[in-house]
Symmetry: C3
Subunit: 364 residues, 3 copies
């Protein structure tokens, strides 16, 4: 517990970056790199606050609705960042951060869990049925990403205007299919087969000393969401020039940095669970979050893009993004398949993440 608390405290200390970012933006007019970095760090504890408030709210309203709340607002910080990026016309950055969230959760987070959990516990077991369903839903996500790209690739010969229209309707239709699957998955995991997931989703924290009152939960949720939005605007504004100044590609910024910012708080929860040998919970957070990004956040952004973006977003990811997601899905499927992990499997997950990260970094 001591370790947990100190990590929590370190997280809340980061809140000091919220005023810092605001001062840098409106008073000092600092360089884009400084703005990008401070706003990025500021989002980490704000996303953590949103998660805590959501959870408190969920405790109040009972298991069923609470599960739904957790499932819907679990990636709210990322959604807010993405909406601001979409408004700024940075559709490619959004898609890169979606890719990065998916591979970051299943390779980096689950890899760290298996590695550090495995150093403490020689062999860590988990429920195969839940893991298998998660892996299958990830596979569906990969399918949804691969198909538009192949579709676009093979259509290279035909007229490009007709092709783009066809590709955009395909993206929209696939988004509907994904959203339907997400709703069905909620019915499955909260309703008909909830017992399979018992003890993995709800109790993500030790019993708290006190549950927040409803009003406080709502206030914290909305206040932190608003602050995430504010910070996102600063972050997105500085992304392009930061990439240029630091000599990184914009896609690397999206896949590795933006993707991690919105999830860092949640990641620490997964890691703590793994250290306590609760691999079911760790796997549930890592895979569940990826699935939510792919089946809920991505299609929602496609829909929203018609309202807020200069031009609609589609599901046409770059080949390297697609290959990265496909690899991540295959590797996690392979590793979770036998219902147990060792530290070496964690190291292999991190190695795959490193290889993909290096590839995104080296893109000329």
């Amino acid at each position: 517990m001591a370790r947990r608390l100190s990590l929590d405290n370190a997280l809340w200390l980061l809140l000091v970056f919220v005023p810092v970012a605001i001062v840098l933006e409106y008073v000092v007019h600092a360089s884009p790199v400084a703005l990008f970095l401070t706003s990025a760090i500021a989002i980490v504890p704000l996303a953590g606050l949103m998660g805590k408030a959501t959870e408190m709210l969920a405790t109040r309203v009972g298991a069923g609705l609470g599960g739904l709340l957790n499932a819907t607002f679990g990636n709210a910080a990322e959604l807010i960042i993405a909406i601001f990026a979409l408004r700024a016309g940075l559709g490619e950055l959004v898609k890169a951060s979606l890719t990065g969230s998916i591979i970051g959760n299943v390779l980096l987070v689950f890899g760290l869990c298996a590695l550090f959990g495995g150093v403490r516990h020689s062999r860590q077991a988990f429920n195969r049925t839940a893991a298998n369903l998660g892996a299958t839903m990830l596979l569906l996500s990969a399918v949804a990403l691969v198909v538009p790209a192949v579709f676009y690739l093979i259509g290279g010969a035909s007229g490009s205007a007709a092709l783009e229209t066809a590709e955009r309707s395909l993206s929209l239709e696939i988004s509907v299919v994904l959203m339907v699957c997400y709703v069905l998955a909620l019915v499955f995991s909260l309703g008909t087969h909830g017992h399979l997931f018992e003890g993995t989703g709800g109790s993500s924290h030790e019993p708290e000393a006190s549950v927040w009152p409803l009003r406080r939960s709502l206030a914290v949720l909305f206040a932190s969401a608003a602050m995430v939005g504010w910070m996102s605007e600063i972050l997105v504004g500085g992304a392009g020039e930061t990439a240029e100044t630091l000599g990184m590609s914009e896609v690397f910024i999206g896949v590795i940095i933006v993707a991690l910012v919105g999830n860092a708080a949640e990641h620490s929860t997964a890691l703590m669970a793994a250290l306590k040998d609760k691999m079911d919970l760790a796997l549930n957070i890592a895979v569940g979050s990826s699935v939510q990004i792919a089946l809920f956040v991505a299609p929602l952004l496609v829909f929203l893009s018609y309202a807020v973006a200069p031009e609609p977003m589609d599901l046409l990811f770059t080949p390297l993004e697609i290959v990265a997601v496909a690899i991540a899905v295959l590797v996690v499927g392979q590793i979770s398949d036998d219902g147990e992990t060792h530290w070496m499997e964690g190291a292999l997950l991190l190695a795959v993440y490193a290889i993909l990260g290096l590839a995104f970094f080296n893109v000329p």
Copy 2:
């Protein structure tokens, strides 16, 4: 039983479309769309009749030879349709319908089985060894499709005439390998390891009140095969114009419609089995039929194409077809891997089928 009979009866009622198609073709000279649709519907009960006659024949001749008969004539209707399409020079339509049969069986049929079976039965278990072998044979099928395409792709730089010759010999050689595997699989499943498949293949129906006499079985088999041939000629003749009139691509017609027509009767058997919680049988029909298409029907058509087609058929499928088969194989491998299904896995299989179907539909 009542449900089963009524579904059977509904099937036989469709036989009325046989004379309708004939009248439309030779008396009324109806539009290609009308001819295509009526002949397509007419094939459904005829293929069912062929299946029933084959099964009756198999009952007569004993388990070993019977299994061989079922395995060889199981997709005879599709084979007949494909031969008529080959004769008409529609090699691409044939390959599309082969693709459609493979993905239709493992995604649509097995998906419906897992979904509707899963709604009735919370958890449906099946034999992992048989499922694993089926998934491995499907993987081999995917390999046989992927390799010629990659081969062709990388050869893009070299002279196209030499490349095409090389690609055609490769297709022929791969066809021989596939056919050998099919024969070995029969030796395995009917001979040395028949016990693994016991109770899954033979008793696809409730014990019948009466077994047909040998002469009747043979007569029905040949008569229905001849009628399937006749209907196929009408179907194939109308396919091109139907695609144009309805604004669908020819590949969509092949992958989704032609592929379903020859299998519909068999599909209903699989679904009935799943509803009765006989998932071994359902999986065996779905995966077994796909394997038979890939390892027996496809190479046989390559061989036959040298005799009946204007130009030889190869195994060079389009990228979207290859990706569709690869995805189907991976997804069904993932889902069948743990030896049980839930309704959500059925929904995911159908979602993947829907995404692939949408892609084929949107091809400009």
Copy 3:
């Protein structure tokens, strides 16, 4: 035992090809084809001698260091051949032989083991945990091969000089990651989780009548290594013209022939183990050898190429090579997944190897 000894004896008889190759090269000045074939055959027993000497050395120095020796020198013959090929500027041949070693071990060798072992024993079981880790490490190998190729592919549009520099640094960085993983895998399999691999790695032979003295082991090791080097120089010198004379592509020579030569002795050990129903050992040799090639030999060659080759070697394999490795990894993952094999699975592995071999052969 009688069978084993006679096969061993046959192996040693092949040593006669060592002086034959030397006479043909320096006295007779024979044709390149004759030189290529005799030196290839001469390497087979020399590689076997190296393996035997390494094992004797390992027995002397105790389990831990012995395992390390076996792991490091296990593919020394291949490494020596590759270094001579690199020096001759045949980087593509080296990459082809690496590909061939990986797919040869997991498809051909494991396929033969499962087929012939399965003919004798109806069902052969093995440890799933070890098999699963092997399959995961193979998947990492496939990732390391796929990523540079996709990276290069997508960069097609940008300036080719910048792209090549980027691709070369990526290869170097990935090589470091692979090497780190190899060291970690040794720590895992020899150190923290050695018990999982007990009885599979060490006792690859029946208890020998006599263990060689240390001096003899070292002498045989260095002498046979030197002879492998000599033969490799002759082999590499004749490879190009042999391919031309026999009408084979150079990549076929590398993938199928050169790859088999350095491994043949080891392959016979795996097959013997399978016939004795020791599938754990057979799988360990086949998969372990592939993993060692991918995670140790390949990155080591990248590093060495900066010292010995006319120009550095990268990890950019051809599309057909990548697809071959990816297919091999997926198929062996699928087959080893349920912890048992039957002869049919062996036949399927060989069929996949045959299809890939045919593709490499037909490359125009």
